[in-house]
C-alpha cells in the first residue's frame, strides 16, 4: 500500500531494537534494586516485613504484566497522576521484575549452606557483616546463572510496552506494518531481531549453569 520494505524501514526497526535494549537495562537495574530489597525483606527478622514482602510477590506474580502496564499508563492518569509511555513502561517492568528477581535471589541467599551462617555468627559478626561479607558473596555466585536466564524474560517482556504506545521493537514493527501492510514479513523480521537479542543471553546462561554444575532452580518463564 505505502510502497515496499526498504532500508529506511530496517533502520527504523533497528532503532526500535535499541529502545528495547534501553528498556531492558532500565527494567534490570530498577527491578534489580527493588528486587534486592524484596529478597532481604523476605528473610527479614521481622514477621510483618516478611509477610508484606510475600504479599507483594504473591500479588505481582498472580497478575499479568499487561494488566500492570495498563494500570500504570491508563489507571494513574485517571486518578490524577500524569505519566509518559516510557515512565509507565519503566515503572511496570520494575515492579514486575522485582517480584521475580526477589524470589530468585531469596532462593540463592537461602541456599548458602547453614554452617556458613553459623560460622559467621560464631565469629561474632553482626547481622549486616554476616550478610555483606559471608553470605552475599557466595549467594551472588549461586544467583548468577538464573539471573542471566531471567534477563531473556525481561527482553521479551519489554515487547508489552508497545501496548502503551512506547516505540520499541514490537511497536516499530506495528508502525511499519500500518503503512506497508505486509504483516507476516514484518513480524518475521521483528521476531528474528528479538531472537538475535535473546539467543546470546540464553546461551550465556546455559554455559553459566553448566559451569556451576547445578541443575537450574528456576527456569520458569512467563510469556
Amino acid at each position: 500500500m505505502g510502497g515496499s520494505l526498504n532500508a529506511n524501514h530496517l533502520v527504523f526497526l533497528l532503532q526500535g531494537a535499541l529502545w528495547t535494549i534501553v528498556l531492558s537495562v532500565i527494567a534490570l537495574v530498577g527491578g534489580g534494586i527493588v528486587g534486592f530489597v524484596v529478597a532481604l525483606a523476605r528473610i527479614a527478622p521481622s514477621r510483618v516485613v516478611r509477610i508484606a514482602a510475600a504479599g507483594y510477590v504473591g500479588l505481582i506474580q498472580g497478575t499479568p504484566l499487561l494488566v500492570i502496564m495498563f494500570l500504570t499508563f491508563f489507571g494513574l492518569p485517571a486518578i490524577g497522576i500524569r505519566i509518559t509511555p516510557l515512565a509507565a513502561a519503566s515503572v511496570s517492568l520494575t515492579i514486575y521484575v522485582a517480584a521475580y528477581l526477589g524470589e530468585i535471589w531469596r532462593g540463592s541467599i537461602l541456599s548458602v549452606p547453614t554452617p556458613q551462617w553459623e560460622a559467621a555468627e560464631g565469629l561474632a559478626l553482626s547481622r549486616g557483616q554476616r550478610m555483606l561479607r559471608v553470605v552475599l558473596p557466595q549467594a551472588i555466585r549461586i544467583a548468577t546463572p538464573p539471573t542471566v536466564g531471567f534477563v531473556v524474560q525481561i527482553i521479551k517482556n519489554t515487547s508489552l510496552a508497545s501496548v502503551v504506545g512506547f516505540v520499541e521493537l514490537a511497536r516499530s514493527g506495528q508502525i511499519i506494518n500500518n503503512s506497508l501492510f505486509e504483516p507476516f514479513l514484518i513480524y518475521a523480521i521483528v521476531a528474528v531481531l528479538y531472537f538475535a537479542l535473546c539467543y546470546p543471553v540464553s546461551r550465556l546462561s546455559r554455559r553459566l549453569e553448566r559451569r556451576a554444575g547445578q541443575p537450574r532452580g528456576q527456569t520458569l518463564a512467563p510469556a
Partner: protein
C-alpha cells in the same frame, strides 16, 4: 478531587465473568494441547533420531527466544496470509499452545534426564517390553518429578493469555479494556481485573494441587511434598 467508584465496575460483572471464563478456557486448551506437544517434543529430543532431535531443538529455541506478542501476530497474520479466516479465539488458543509446548518440552526433557540409567536397566531385568519401560519407568516417573514446575508454567500461561487481547480475543483483559473505555474508570477497572487474575491463579494452583493427589498417589504415600 478524585473519587474512586468501584461499584461502577462491579456492575459489569456479567462481562467480567465471561472474560474470566474465556481466560480459563484458553488456559485449559493450551495446557492440554501444549502438554501433549511438550511430551512429544521431549520424546523427539531424546529419540536419538538426529532429524527429530534437531527439529524439536529449533522449535524450543525459536519460541523461547521471541516474545509471545510477536508469536501471536505471526500466527494470526501468517494464517491470514495463507487465506485461512479463523476466529481470534482459535488463533489465540493455537498461539498459546505453540508457546507453552516449547516450555513444556524443556521441562519434560529435564524430567527424562533425571531418570537414572539403572532404573531402565532394572526394567529390562524385569523383562518389561520397550513400550512398558517407556511408559512406567521413564515417562510417568519423569512427569511426576517435574509436575510442580509444569503446573507453575501453566499458571504463568494463564496470565500470559492476557496478551491475546491484542488480537481482540475477548478474554478478561480485553473485557477490561472495553469497560475502561466505556466508563473512563481505568484505575478501578484494572485494579479489579488484577484482583481477578490473582484469584484465577490461586484457583488454578489449588486445582493442580488436588489433581496431583489424583494423578500421582505414590507421591503422597512416600510423603514427598508437592
Amino acid at each position: 478531587m478524585i473519587t474512586l467508584d468501584f461499584p461502577a465496575i462491579w456492575e459489569r460483572w456479567p462481562s467480567l465473568l465471561d472474560g474470566a471464563v474465556l481466560t480459563l478456557q484458553l488456559a485449559a486448551v493450551a495446557t492440554v494441547c501444549g502438554g501433549i506437544v511438550g511430551i512429544l517434543g521431549a520424546v523427539a529430543r531424546r529419540s536419538g533420531n538426529p532429524v527429530a532431535t534437531r527439529i524439536a531443538g529449533v522449535y524450543v529455541e525459536a519460541i523461547r527466544n521471541t516474545p509471545l506478542l510477536v508469536q501471536i501476530f505471526l500466527v494470526y497474520f501468517g494464517l491470514a496470509t495463507l487465506g485461512l479466516k479463523l476466529s481470534a479465539v482459535f488463533v489465540a488458543g493455537l498461539a498459546l499452545t505453540i508457546n507453552v509446548g516449547a516450555y513444556t518440552t524443556e521441562i519434560v526433557r529435564a524430567g527424562f534426564e533425571s531418570i537414572h540409567r539403572s532404573q531402565i536397566e532394572a526394567g529390562e531385568g524385569l523383562a518389561l517390553s520397550k513400550a512398558q519401560i517407556y511408559r512406567h519407568v521413564i515417562l510417568l516417573p519423569a512427569l511426576e518429578r517435574v509436575y510442580p514446575a509444569l503446573t507453575s508454567q501453566f499458571v504463568l500461561l494463564m496470565l500470559a493469555s492476557s496478551v491475546t487481547s491484542q488480537i481482540s480475543a475477548e478474554e478478561l483483559t480485553a473485557v477490561a479494556n472495553y469497560i475502561q473505555s466505556d466508563t473512563y474508570r481505568a484505575f478501578e477497572t484494572y485494579i479489579t481485573v488484577a484482583v481477578l487474575y490473582v484469584l484465577l491463579s490461586l484457583v488454578m494452583r489449588a486445582g493442580f494441587f488436588g489433581l496431583g493427589f489424583l494423578l500421582f498417589p505414590r507421591r503422597r504415600r512416600l510423603g514427598t511434598p508437592l
